[in-house]
């Protein structure tokens, strides 16, 4: 009973994570300019990664492994945020216009 529940929960989180990744990628391909693309990529992917890690942490059944994953996620968050900031700042400075609905 309990293993089945754990499996189900883990499956749910991983599938949910995958959905966010998918959404982020669709956004990357479909959004009109660099700023909106960045928005979709960073937000959705970070959430997706977090959800997946929750799913995998449940599956691993070890606090230590779960903590390591949390740490990895934090690093991804920090570097993702920095990279997105740098890309958008550079884009702004080099004169890339922000997309507006006509």
């Amino acid at each position: 009973m309990i293993p089945a529940l754990i499996n189900a929960a883990s499956m749910f989180f991983v599938v949910a994570g995958a959905f966010f990744f998918l959404a982020g990628t669709v956004g990357l391909l479909r959004f009109p300019d660099v700023y909106t693309r960045l928005h979709s990529l960073t937000k959705a992917d970070n959430t997706g990664l977090g959800l997946m890690m929750v799913g995998l942490a449940i599956q691993s059944g070890s606090i230590l492994v779960a903590l390591k994953m949390a740490l990895a996620w934090l690093f991804v968050l920090v570097s993702g945020a920095t990279a997105a900031h740098l890309i958008s700042t550079t884009a702004l400075k080099s004169g890339l216009r922000i997309w507006r609905k006509e």
Partner: protein
């Protein structure tokens, strides 16, 4: 192996040549480099699948990371100069580098090569020497329990010794060109960004910790001097890019000595062991673990420093000389 695993392996194996092709025929050089880095990341994944975490780690840090940064910096340097004296635009002139006749003439031998190689790799016989069990037996008797580290620093230590020589030589080769100092090609918005500076301050201690951990762990599990040196070298590159480390890396004598240190210590251990046991790099009984760890410590330091130096390309300032 499960069906899903087989599909994943198939996708990875297929995407490698496709990415290579896309990278090499990309419209402009920046795109080519980005695809090259992507290739490196997929490669690291493939290696993780092939049960080679040591290589995956090294590839991610050195192959994709540092080589990618080197390429980006060079492309940036070339295109900036082009803006200035715009004699002949470098890009995207070479999309069609050769007439179709040449391309066809190249395609034929390359197809034969690929076909022949495919035939060759699919008809490997059963190996004559059972290397895994040879290594396994030696590891069981030795003090270092991670087989890759044992191969690198004990059974095939002479290769590793020469390889550190290659790194030193590369720094020497680059310096022999006498390149002028190139500023980081990152835009000012990036190099002056407080966000980036804060990020690096957060990152640096974490990378140092993981570098030291990789070094220490390497004797018993994946990791070792190369991975540790690669991580620290990548940190060095990031610090140069953000201006936290000056391109000339400080005083000449110190940097030079630092670059040569790993190689020199390796050489010294080899010669001393020759005097002690009568064989080059034949570690005396009981000193195996300690000597390997000592060599690895100095190697890590020199690998990290050399990778950073290869990125800056500028020889260190000499006493009294200005850059």
């Amino acid at each position: 192996m499960s069906f899903a695993g087989l599909v994943l392996d198939g996708l990875l194996a297929l995407s490698l040549p496709v990415l290579a092709w896309r990278a090499l025929s990309a419209r402009d050089l920046y795109r080519a480099v980005i695809l090259f880095i992507t290739f490196g990341v997929i490669l690291a994944l493939a290696w993780a699948r092939l049960g080679a975490p040591d290589i995956a780690l090294a590839e991610a840090a050195i192959g994709a990371g540092i080589t990618g940064a080197l390429l980006l910096n060079t492309v940036g340097g070339l295109s900036r100069k082009n803006d200035k004296d715009d004699e002949r635009p470098d890009e995207p002139t070479d999309r069609v580098g050769r007439p179709w006749r040449t391309r066809l003439a190249v395609t034929v031998p390359v197809t034969i090569l690929a076909g022949g190689l495919a035939w060759a790799v699919l008809s490997f016989p059963a190996p004559v020497v059972d290397m895994p069990s040879l290594v396994g037996e030696a590891v069981a008797e030795g003090e270092v329990s991670h087989p890759v580290t044992a191969v690198l620093l004990d059974y095939r230590s002479y290769d590793t010794f020469l390889e550190i020589g290659v790194l030193l030589l590369a720094a020497l080769c680059v310096w022999s060109l006498g390149l002028s100092a190139v500023r980081s090609t990152a835009p000012e918005a990036v190099s002056g960004s407080p966000v980036l500076a804060g990020f690096v301050r957060l990152l640096a201690p974490a990378m140092v910790v993981s570098g030291v951990y990789l070094l220490w762990a390497g004797t018993s599990q994946p990791g070792g001097a190369f991975q540790a040196g690669a991580v620290l070298g990548a940190l060095g590159v990031v610090m140069v890019l953000t201006g936290l480390l000056v391109p000339s890396l400080g005083r000449g004598g110190v940097v030079r000595a630092g670059l040569a240190l790993g190689f020199a210590v390796f050489l010294l251990v080899g010669v001393v062991s020759m005097l002690a046991t009568g064989g080059f790099l034949a570690y005396p009984e009981g000193f195996e673990y300690g000597l390997i760890l000592a060599i690895e410590f100095f190697l890590t330091f020199s690998i990290a420093l050399t990778l950073t130096a290869l990125f800056t390309t500028v020889p260190p300032r000499e006493k009294g000389g200005g850059a």
